[in-house]
Subunit: 505 residues, 2 copies
C-alpha cells in the first residue's frame, strides 16, 4: 500500500526510510505483546511518534453491537463507546475513508464533547482506518494536534495507515489470545462446577481454595524477611497455582460417591439390612418361644398351659429386651464419634450371636464386615475407604498429566500432586519430606485445610469458626506438618478475609 | 535495526523503500496466518522475493532439545532436525552471527548432504538469525543462490534480518496459538474421559460419536445431489461439531449414577429390602402356625397334638409355598423384559398381602413404590427416572452455555442441545420439529444411536451387530425420526467403517 506519493529528495527518502524502519520495529514489539492493556498504549505511543502528533487514540470495531470502543485513550482511563458513524472516528470506521482536518472545530462532523470534558483543545486531526489482512476495517487510529502546528500531510496519512495495518493484526492476535484463554478458563470453571455438583461435600471448595492460595501467594510480595523474602510469583505463575488449586480435587471424580459422603460407619443400605435382620431375629425369638411352649405342653399337659405361657412370655420379653439393647448399642457404635473404651471388645463378642432365618438356617446376627465397620475407632471410614479417598490425589495427578499444558503452566500437575503431603513426611500419597514439596503446594495445603474446616457443607462434620480453624492449623504447624512461615503470613496478611473479595482480573 | 548502511542514490533509496514496504505488507499477512503449515511457506516465498534468491529455508529453535527443526523447506516435504551448531544454519542459531557465503562449497561449515540427497546445487548462501522481541534467537532463515548469480550483499542481509524479525513474531504467535488450542483440546478430552470413567454405560461413547459425526460431515463433501448438495463444513465448523459431539453427554454428570446404570426395575438395595421382608413374612407364617397350635391344644387337648401338628405343618407348607411363588413372580416382573399380559393385574392384586413384623405390627408385603416399579411395562425406568435421564440434555446445554466459546465455536451448545430431537417432533427435551434441528445435530443423532446400539458396554442390553443396527436406524428413518438423506450417506459412505480409523490431524 505504501508509498503512494513518492518523494524524490534523498533527505525525504531517508526520513521516510527511517520511519518505515521504526514501524517495522514497533510491529515486532506489538506482535510480541499479547496483553491488550499494554499493547494499546504501545501502539498509541508509536503512532504519536511516527506522525509527530501530540496524542493519539484508537478505537476497535465491535461489529456485533455496531459500536466502536476504546480501552485506552492517552490521558483518559475509562472505556469509551461510540455508535458507528458518529463523530470523526465513527465516520472513518463506517466509510473506511481517511479524514484529515487542519482545524477540527471548523468541521461539523467533529464532536467537541471529549474536549469539553477533558479541557483539551483539539486543532488538527488525522483519522485513518485499521484494516485486517482481508481489507476489512477493524478499527480506527486518530492522531490529534500535529506538533509542528501545521496540518497532517499525505505522508502522515500513509505512515499512520501503515502503522494501523500492523496494529490491526496485533490487536486481533491479542483479542484472539484473550478469547481462547477465556474459553479455556470458562471450560475449567464450568467442569469444576459440574463435577462438584455431584458431590455436596466439595461444592464451591475448589474455587475457594484457589482464591485462598492465590491470595497467600500475592501476600508474599510484602514479605522481606525469612525463607520467603525473595519468593515472588509472576502473573503466569499465579495463573499456574490457580489452575492447580481449581483442579486439585478433580480426581474425586474417580472416587465412589457413597464413600465421599459417608456420614456414619455403616452405609444407609447396610443399616437398613441390619435392622431387617434384627426384626427377623426378634421374630425368631418369638417362634422359638412358641416351639418351646408346644414341647412343654407335650411334656407337662394342657393343665399347665397358663403357667407355661407365663414363663415363656417372661423369658421372651427378656430375650427381646436383650436383642433391642444390642441394636441400641450397634446404633451407638455406628455414629462417627470416637469409639468408647470397652465398646470395641463388646462388639467383637457380639459376633457369636446367631438366629434362624425364614428357612431355619442359622445366621449370624451381625456380619463380619458390619463388625469391622462398627469397630472404626475414629470417623466413619475404614482403612480401604480412607485409601480410596486418598487415591483422589493420584487420580488428579494422572488426569492433569494427560493434558498438554503450555510452558507457563507445565507445573500444574506437580503442584496439585503434593497438596496432601506434609513437611514431616506423614502426608499422602507419596509421604515425601519437605524438600520435595513445592512452595505452591504448601500454600495450597494451608488453604485446603482451612476451607475444609470452615466450610459448612460437609455432612460428617460441622463448620468450624475462623479462630478455631486457625488454632487447628497452628497445631498442625507445631507438629511439623504445615509450613510455619507460610501459616504466619496466612494469618498476618488476613488471607481468608482478603480471599472473600473478588480477585482483580 | 535498519538501515545500517545508508544508500544515497534516489534509485537505491526507492528500491529499498519498496522492499521495506513489501516486508511491511507481508508482515501483515503473516500476523493474520495462525496455521504454521501455511505461515512457513508464506515466509519463505516472501524471503526469496525480498533477497532475490532461488529458494529459502527456515529453521525453528527447539531449546529443550537443543535442536533446529524445519517443517517445510521449499522443494522438500519431510521434517528435518539438526543439532545446534551443525552446518551453516546450526552455527547461525548458536552464535547469532550472520553467515554470507558467495560459494558455499568453499566453506567447510557447509553441509553438502542435503544437496547430494536432493540433487540441488547450492552456490551462494545467506543465513541470518530470527530474533524475538527480547533479542533471543528463535530460529534462522537461509536464502540459497542469489538469482543474479552474484553473492548476497549487505542490503540483502539487512532485509532478510528485518523479515526474519517479523517472521519470528508471527511464528511465535502461531506456535502459541497451537499450544493453547491443544491445551484446550487436551482438557476437553481428559474431562470427558474422567467423567465417563464414573459411568461404564458411556465409557468411550463420546469419542466414538465425535468420530462418527465428523466422518459423516466429511462425507458430505462428495455429495452433489439432494438437499445436502451444497452443504460443506469448513475446518472450524468440523471442529465445532466435534466439540459438540465430544460434550453431548457431559450433562450426565447431573444424573444420579444408579439411575444411569439401572439394570432391573428395582434397584439392588430395594430388591435386598424386599427379600428381607419376604423372609420376615415367612417367619411370620411359622409363628402364626405355632400360635394356632397352642390355641388348638388349649381347645382340643394334648391328646390331639400330633393331629394338630400334622394339620398345621401341611397348612404351613402350603402357605410358605404360596409366599415363595409370590417372590418368584416378583423376581420375574423385576427383569427388564416386556411385562407379560396379566402380570400387571396380578401385581396390583398383591398389594393387599399383609404380614406382621417383629413387633407384631401389620405391614404390607409389597410396598406401593415397589409395585409401581415392577409394573413398568418396558425397560427398567419409571417415568420420573426416564425424565431424569432425559434431563441430561438440559444439563449439557446449561453447562455448555456457561462457557465463553470463541466466535467459530459459538454454536456448540445449540448443536449439542438438539441431539435427541426427532424430525417428526417426538424427541426431547423440546420436541421441536425438523425445521428447528441443525444439520449437525441430525448427523449426531444418527451417530449417537448407532454407537449406543453397537457398543458392548451397556448393562441393560447386548451389543447389536452392525447390519442389525442399520436396520434399526432405517426403521427410525421410516417413522420420520431421523434424516433419510443423511442416513443414506452414512451407509453409502461407510461412515462407521471410516470412523474407526484415526482422523487426520
Amino acid at each position: 500500500m505504501l508509498p503512494q506519493t513518492q518523494p524524490t529528495e534523498p533527505a525525504d527518502l531517508n526520513r521516510r526510510l527511517k520511519k518505515l524502519t521504526s514501524i517495522l520495529d514497533v510491529t515486532k514489539a506489538m506482535s510480541a505483546e499479547r496483553d491488550l492493556d499494554l499493547l494499546l498504549p504501545l501502539i498509541l505511543y508509536e503512532a504519536s511518534k511516527v506522525v509527530e502528533a501530540d496524542r493519539c487514540s484508537l478505537f476497535v470495531l465491535d461489529r456485533e453491537r455496531n459500536q466502536l470502543w476504546s480501552k485506552v485513550a492517552q490521558g483518559s482511563k475509562s472505556e469509551i463507546r461510540l455508535p458507528m458513524g458518529s463523530g470523526i472516528a465513527g465516520r472513518v470506521a463506517e466509510t473506511g475513508e481517511v479524514i484529515n482536518l487542519p482545524d477540527a472545530y471548523a468541521d461539523e462532523r467533529f464532536n467537541r464533547t471529549f474536549d469539553s470534558i477533558s479541557g483539551y483543545r483539539t486543532q488538527s486531526v488525522l483519522c485513518v482506518p485499521m484494516r485486517d489482512a482481508n481489507g476489512e476495517v477493524t478499527g480506527v487510529i486518530q492522531a490529534l494536534n500535529k506538533l509542528s502546528g501545521n496540518a497532517f500531510d499525505s505522508e502522515d496519512e500513509e505512515l499512520l495507515l501503515a502503522l494501523g495495518a500492523q496494529a490491526a493484526g496485533a490487536i486481533e492476535n491479542a483479542l484472539l489470545h484473550e478469547e481462547i484463554n477465556s474459553l479455556f478458563e470458562g471450560f475449567v470453571s464450568a467442569s469444576v462446577v459440574a463435577i462438584e455438583s455431584r458431590d455436596p461435600t466439595t461444592a464451591g471448595h475448589s474455587g475457594r481454595v484457589a482464591n485462598l492460595t492465590v491470595s497467600l501467594a500475592r501476600a508474599l510480595e510484602h514479605v522481606h524477611t525469612g525463607p520467603y523474602a525473595h519468593t515472588r510469583f509472576s502473573a503466569t505463575e499465579l495463573q499456574e497455582v490457580r489452575y492447580a488449586s481449581l483442579l486439585h480435587d478433580f480426581g474425586k471424580v474417580g472416587v465412589r460417591e457413597p464413600v465421599l459422603v459417608k456420614a456414619e460407619k455403616l452405609y444407609p443400605h447396610e443399616l437398613e439390612g441390619l435392622r431387617a435382620r434384627f426384626q427377623l431375629a426378634r421374630k425368631d425369638l418369638q417362634l422359638h418361644s412358641y416351639r418351646r411352649r408346644i414341647a412343654a405342653v407335650k411334656l407337662r399337659g394342657t393343665q399347665h398351659l397358663a403357667e407355661i405361657e407365663a414363663e415363656e412370655e417372661a423369658r421372651l420379653a427378656q430375650e427381646c429386651k436383650q436383642l433391642d439393647e444390642v441394636l441400641e448399642f450397634v446404633l451407638t457404635c455406628n455414629r462417627p464419634s470416637v469409639l468408647a473404651q470397652g465398646n470395641f471388645e463388646r462388639l467383637h463378642e457380639l459376633k457369636h450371636l446367631r438366629f434362624q432365618d425364614g428357612f431355619d438356617r442359622e445366621q449370624p446376627l451381625l456380619l463380619e464386615r458390619e463388625i469391622q465397620s462398627l469397630s472404626i475407632l475414629k470417623g466413619t471410614l475404614s482403612e480401604a475407604e480412607r485409601l480410596e479417598i486418598e487415591s483422589h490425589v493420584e487420580h488428579t495427578y494422572r488426569f492433569l498429566s494427560q493434558i498438554p499444558w503450555t510452558r507457563t503452566l507445565r507445573r500444574v500437575p506437580e503442584i496439585a500432586y503434593a497438596h496432601h503431603e506434609k513437611l514431616n513426611g506423614t502426608g499422602y500419597p507419596r509421604a515425601i519430606p519437605d524438600t520435595g514439596i513445592p512452595v505452591q503446594s504448601r500454600m495450597m495445603a494451608i488453604a485446603d485445610i482451612y476451607d475444609a474446616l470452615t466450610a459448612s457443607d460437609r455432612p460428617y462434620k460441622k463448620a468450624v469458626p475462623h479462630p478455631l480453624a486457625l488454632d487447628i492449623l497452628q497445631r498442625e504447624v507445631k507438629s511439623g506438618q504445615l509450613d510455619a512461615e507460610l501459616f504466619r503470613i496466612f494469618v498476618e496478611a488476613e488471607v481468608p478475609q482478603r480471599a472473600q473479595q473478588p480477585l482483580p482480573e
